[in-house]
Symmetry: D3
Subunit: 277 residues, 6 copies
C-alpha cells in the first residue's frame, strides 16, 4: 500500500489550490529562511493513509522528510507519523495541505477497517460513490482499510440495474447468455430488489446478485430460498451497510458487503508540532 | 450561485474517472441507442448544489437537459431537480457521476445552511480544510448554503499562527506594525489560545482574533475582557464549531463562526428515475 | 458506439500537436476566409471508427459538419462518411488531424472485425498492449470492431502471471482461496505455459486459464485433458492470435481469443475532397 | 537521442492509463513488499527506442534502474537493455507500460532504419501521419532510426497542396513570389501530381516539389524533364514509399524520401525476466 | 486571423487564475442575477488582437456576445469592438480577464504593425523570445500585426549559433554539406557576428545569414561585400531591431528584420462600459 | 522568495513550447553528446527573479546546475547568476527558455523595485493586470521586487467598482453594512472617481478608497478633505502610477500605490556563455 496514488503534478495541484501565489503571512513576517522542523503525530488511534503523499508534498516544497509509518498501518494515539526539516517557508507551505490529506484519507481507512473487522471473514467492497474527483486517493484509503472496490466504474464490470432492464425486451436467460458469451472473463452481477427477482436472475445464470436495501433478515431469507432452489450465487449486500450492521449481514449469509459509508467518515486528527532548534 | 464551478474539461475528468473506456454493461446489453429519459428528484429536504454541473455532465454526454432549480435553493422532498433526455447510452454514462455530485455538494450546502441559520445574524465562514482536490466545488457549496470562506489559502490573507510566532523575535506591536505597513488593504488575523494572548494581540493592533477551541463561555469571557480593556476587534470562533453550538457562540459575542463541519456532512439523497416512453 | 472517446480538450490537444501556432501555408496564401467545403469518403471497405471525433474536430475549428455514418458501421468503398463546410482556414486546420484519426482507428476496427468474424461465435478480446497513450480511442476501435477488452489495466481484474507466482510460497489451492475470498465479484485468471500448469490451476479453482502461446492443437489437447479431469474452466487463447488462426483456435475449443494484432493494423484510407462552390 | 521525449507527468499519465487505482493482482497476492529484480532483453535484433522513458517509468514507481543502451543504438538478439530493482509492487506496476513503450517505439525505429539504409545516402523523412496523440515519441523514434521529420505540423513549414490552389486565382509565379517575400527563411514546397505540374511550379520558383505517388520510373522522368528545362529543385518522393522501394526511389533521383510506413510497423519484442534473489 | 489561439480549457484556465472560487464582491453585493450589458471600445487607434478569445471568455461565462471586429483589423479610437449581454455575475466574471487579454495582445499587434510598416516591403519576423507561457497568443498577435515568426522553437528550423560551432571540429563547408544532405527541405541559417564570418558561411553555402547586432551601416557593408564576392544569401538583421530603425535596416539591404521588440509593447487601452437597461 | 513558482510539469510545458520534438540543429550537427558548460551572468544591474526556475529547467534537461544568487537579490553588472554542466544537447535544450524566463521576470522585479524605492516607506501593490497566463511568475517577480499584490483576483477580496454600483439601488451605508456583516475578516475597498465620492464612501464606512487616476495634487486634496471631515481611511492611488510619480503620490498622502507598470517593463539582459573544456 506504499505506492503514491497521485503524481507529482497532481500533488502540485493540491498545493496550488492552497498556495497559488506564495504564502503571504510567512513572507510578510520575514521568517521564511529560518531553519525549521515539524512532526506529525496521531491524535487518535487510526489506520493511517496518504502519509506517502504527505511526505512527497513536503519534498516538493524543498524539505527533507522521514516517514515513520506507511499507509495501511494501525497506529495508536501519539505515535509519530512523519518528520520534516527545512526552512520555515517550505514547512508552512506544505503544512495544511499535507495534514488535511492525511486526516481525510485516514478517516476513510479507519472507518473502512471498522467495517472490515465487523464483517470478517466476509469481504467488504466500497462503491464508486467516492467524493467527486478523489477516486485514486479514495481507492488507496479503502484498500489501506482492508476492503476492496466494488467496481471502479462503468468500463470494467458488468452490473445490470433495473435501469438497464427497463429497455430490454427478452427473457432473463437470453440476457444472461448474451453477456456470458460476450464477456467470458467477467462475472455478471445483477441488482435485485426482492427475493423473487433474486430467484429469477439466479436461475437465469447471474453470477452475483446485488441485494439492494435488503435487511439482514431479508438477506438470510433470500439465501435460504436460493439454497432451497439449488442455486449457488454470490450474494452482495448493498444499501445502508455500515459498521453497525456489518456483522449481521455477514452472519446472514452475504458473501460480500458493499458500502459507501467510509467516504463521509470524519477525518482522523493529526497533531502538527513545529520546532525551533 | 448559478455559475459553473468546473470547466468542461474538469467535468470530463469526472466522467473519465467513472467511464474511462465506455460503459460496458450498457454496450453489452445492446440498449445503447434506445431513446430514454430520466428525472432527478430530491428524496429529502435539502439546499441544492451543483445542479448546474450535473446538467452540464448530461449535456457533455449528448443529452438534452432541463434544470428545475438552481444552486442555493432550498427544496422539499420529492421536488423535481432536473430532467434529461437522449438515448440510453448517454443517460447511463452520466447518471451516477451527476447524481453523486449533486448528493455530495448538496450535503455540504444543507449542513452549511443549518449552521448559518443557527448563527444568524452572525456570519459563518468555512475553513480551507475541504476534501483534498475539491476546492472549487466546496466553495460553491459553502456559498450556496449561505456561508462564506474563511480564507481560500495562503496567498491572499494574513493569519498569524503560533507556528509563525515561534520563529519571530520581536514585540507583538512590532510585528503588527510591519504587517500593517506592508498590507494596508488586508486585515491582520491572529490565532490565539487563551484570553491573555487575545488581550496582548488586540492591544498590539490585530484586526481579527481567531479564538481556537474556546468554549462559548470562554469566548464570552474574552469579549468582556476586551471590552473592559477598551479593545475593539473582530472575534472569530474556530475549532469544533457546528450546528449544535452555533447559536451559543453567536450569543456569546462572536463576530464570525469558522467551521469545517460541513465538509464531511452526509450526502443528501437524490432519486433518479429512468423512463421508457 | 457513438459516444466521443475524447473530450474537447483532448481533441484540442491533437489539433495543437499539428497546428500549435496557426496554419502557415493557408495564412500566407491568403485564402483563409474563402468559403469552402470538403467530404470524407472511404477509399476501401472498412469498419468505420472515430468519425464522431473527426466531426468534432471540424466543429472545434468553427466548421459546420454532418456525419453520414457512425462508429461500428461497415461501409463500402466510396461511401460518404462526413461533410464539412466553413472557410478554408477552418477546413485546412482540421483536415489531416481528422483524416489520420479516422484512418488509424478504422484500421483497428476493421482488423478487429476480421478476427471477430473468423472466431464467431467465440468471443474476441484485445489486450492492453495498445499504442502508448491511445487507450480510450483504441478501446473504442476494438469495440467498434465487435470485440471486447481483455483487461483495461491492472486495477480492475485478476490475472496471475508466473511473474507473480515467483514470489509466492504456498499451494495453488491456497492462493486461489485467498483471491476468491477477497474478490468474490471477479473471476480469477491464471496464465499458464503448458497443460500441466493448466490442470494444476484448474484443479485449484481458477476461473479462467490464459493459455500463452499454445498452438490450436495444444489448446485442443488442453481442453481434452481438462474435460477428462472433469474440470470446467474458461480457456483463453493468447499469444500470436490473429485473423489467420482465429478460426482454428475457436474450433480447438477456446472460449475466448485474446489478441494484440489489431493495434498495428495498417490504416484504412479515407479520400478527402475539397470543393469550391 | 538520449533526451526524454515525455515529461514525468506525461509518463505518469501512461501509468494511470494502465494502473489508475493500484495493481489488484499484486496487492491481493500479498507479494507487494517482496524484494524483486527484472531485466529487459531484446528478443530480436532492433534499433532501440524509448529505453530512457522506460527507465524513468520504473523510477517513477520507486525502483532503481540501470540502462545498458540508449535510444538509437542497434542491438542484437538477447542483448540486455535495462535492469530494475525494487519491491514486487514497484516492478509489476511499471512492467507492461514500460515494455509496450519500448516495443512499440523500437518497432518504429527499426522500420525507419531499414528505409534509411535502403535509401542511403539519400535522406528519409517521415510524415506527420503518426498515430494520433503520439507525436513526441514518434518523432524520437523516427530520429532514432536515422530519419528526420518531413514537417512537424502546419505552423512551421510551407507545403502548398492542390487543396490550397483550388482557392487561388493567380499565376503560379505570383503565388511563389508572395510566399518568398513573406517567408524568406523557409523553402516553399509544392505537392504535384504529374510532370506537367512539376515543370510549372519549378519554373515558378518552388524550392521543393513533393511528387505524390509517382513511381520510381515517373520520378526519374520528372527529374530528366526538369534537368532538360534547366530547373534545379529538391525532389521529394511521397506516397507509398517503403523499405522495398526506397532504393529504387533513391536511384531514380529523389533528394528525399517521405514516408509514413514506420508508424504501423510491428513492435519489436522485448523479453522481461523477473528474478527472485 | 480569426481562429481561436486557445482552447476552451486554456481560456478557462485564464478565468480560474482570476476567479478560482467565485466573484466575492459581486456575490456579496447581491446583484449577480441582474440583467446587464457591456461594450468594449478602443480608447486608442490599434490593430486589434484576441477579440475572438475575449468573446469566447464571455460565452464561457454564460453571456451572449457579438464581435464587431476581428483580429488583424486596424481600428480607430472609440470604435466598438465587442458587446456582451447576460446577468451581472457573468459579465463581471469575464470582464477583466477579457479586457486585459485584448489590451495586451493588441499592444503586440500594434507594435508589430508599426515595424512592418516601416520595413515594407521587407518582411519582419518576431523571435521566440515571447513572454514565457504565451506562445500561441503571441504568435497570433505577431501575425495579426502583419509579421511572421522567425522560428517557433528548436524542433523545426536550422539556426547554427556560435554556441554550436564551439563544439564542432570541421570546416564550414563540411558542416553545411551535412546539414543540407540531412535536411533538404529546410534552409540553413547561421548567426554571424561580423563580415568575415558572413563571407565564410555564405561561401560555405549557408542559405540565410543572421546578422547579430549589425548596425544598418554594417549590414550595408556586409551586403556589398557579399555581392562583390558573388554570394547570394538571405540577410536577416537581428538584435535591437525596432520601429525606429526598421526603415534603415530595410534600406541597407536586409531581406528580413528579426525583432523581439513587440513582446514588451505597452498594452493598448480598451474602454469597458457597463449598461443597465 | 526562493520557492519555485512553477511545478515541474509547468516548467516542462515551457520547454515543450520551445522544443516540442527535439532540438533539430543540435541533433543534426552531431554535437549532442559532447560535454559542455555554460554560465549566466547579469549584463546589467538588476533585481534577479526566476533563477530557481531557470536552474530547474536545466535540471529537467539532465544537467547539473548551481545557482549563485536567489530571487529578490539585487546584483550588479557581470555578476554570475548560474552555472550548468552536462552535454551539449542538455544545455542547448534549456538555454533560451531559461534565459528568457530570467530576463523577463527580472525585468518585472527590477521595475517593481524602482517604484518601491521611490515610494518608500509607503507600500506598493501591483494589480492583477499581469500578462495573461503568467500570474504565478508575475506575483513572484512583484514580491521579489519588494511590492505586494493588490488583489490576486475576484475570489478573495472586496473591491466595489462603479460597475457594481450601477446595479445597486440602496444607500452607501446600507451597502457597506451588508458587506461588513457578511465579510468581517476583510476590508471593503471602493473605487472612487472624485473627492465627492471619496467623502461619501468614507462616511459610509469603506475601509479603503481606491482613487482612480487622481493626480498627486488631487490625492492630497482628497486626504485633506477626509481629514477635515474626521474620516480615517486607507487611500490607495491607482491608474498611471509609475516610478516617476511614485514619490509624489507617497508625499501626497497615499497609504498604498497600486500599479500595473512593471508588467511591461523591458527584460533585463542575461549574458550566456558556453564553455568547452
Amino acid at each position: 500500500m506504499s505506492y503514491l496514488a497521485l503524481s507529482d503534478e497532481e500533488l502540485s495541484r493540491l498545493l496550488r489550490d492552497d498556495v497559488p501565489c506564495g504564502d503571504l503571512t510567512t513572507e510578510t513576517s520575514g521568517i521564511g529562511q529560518r531553519p525549521a522542523r515539524l512532526e506529525f503525530c496521531a491524535r487518535q488511534d487510526m489506520v493511517v493513509c496518504a502519509i506517502e503523499e504527505a511526505a512527497r508534498l513536503f519534498a516538493l516544497c524543498g524539505a527533507e522528510v522521514k516517514m515513520s509509518v506507511r499507509s495501511g498501518l494501525a497506529v495508536s494515539q501519539d505515535e509519530l507519523l512523519l518528520q520534516a526539516r527545512g526552512d520555515a517557508q517550505m514547512l508552512h507551505r506544505a503544512w495544511k495541505t499535507a495534514q488535511v490529506l492525511v486526516e481525510w484519507a485516514s478517516g476513510i481507512s479507519t472507518a473502512t477497517a471498522a467495517i472490515v473487522k465487523a464483517a470478517a471473514p466476509v469481504a467488504v467492497a466500497c462503491t464508486r460513490k467516492n467524493v467527486p474527483g478523489t477516486k485514486a486517493l479514495s481507492v488507496k484509503a479503502v484498500r489501506a482499510g482492508g476492503a476492496t472496490m466494488h467496481r471502479l466504474g462503468l468500463s470494467e464490470s458488468l452490473l445490470l440495474f433495473a435501469e438497464h432492464r427497463l429497455y430490454l425486451d427478452e427473457s432473463q436467460a437470453c440476457t444472461v447468455a448474451r453477456f456470458k458469451r460476450a464477456e467470458p472473463e467477467k462475472k455478471l452481477a445483477v441488482e435485485v430488489a426482492n427475493i423473487e427477482e433474486a430467484i429469477l436472475w439466479a436461475r437465469a445464470g447471474a453470477d452475483v446478485l446485488q441485494l439492494e436495501k435488503f435487511s439482514p433478515g431479508a438477506l438470510a431469507d433470500c439465501r435460504n430460498a436460493l439454497n432451497n432452489a439449488g442455486l449457488h450465487v454470490v450474494l452482495a449486500a448493498a444499501g445502508g451497510v455500515c459498521a453497525d450492521n456489518a456483522f449481521a449481514y455477514a452472519r446472514a449469509g452475504a458473501d460480500l458487503l458493499v458500502t459507501s459509508a467510509p467516504y463521509t467518515a470524519p477525518p482522523k486528527d493529526v497533531r502538527v508540532t513545529f520546532i525551533r532548534d
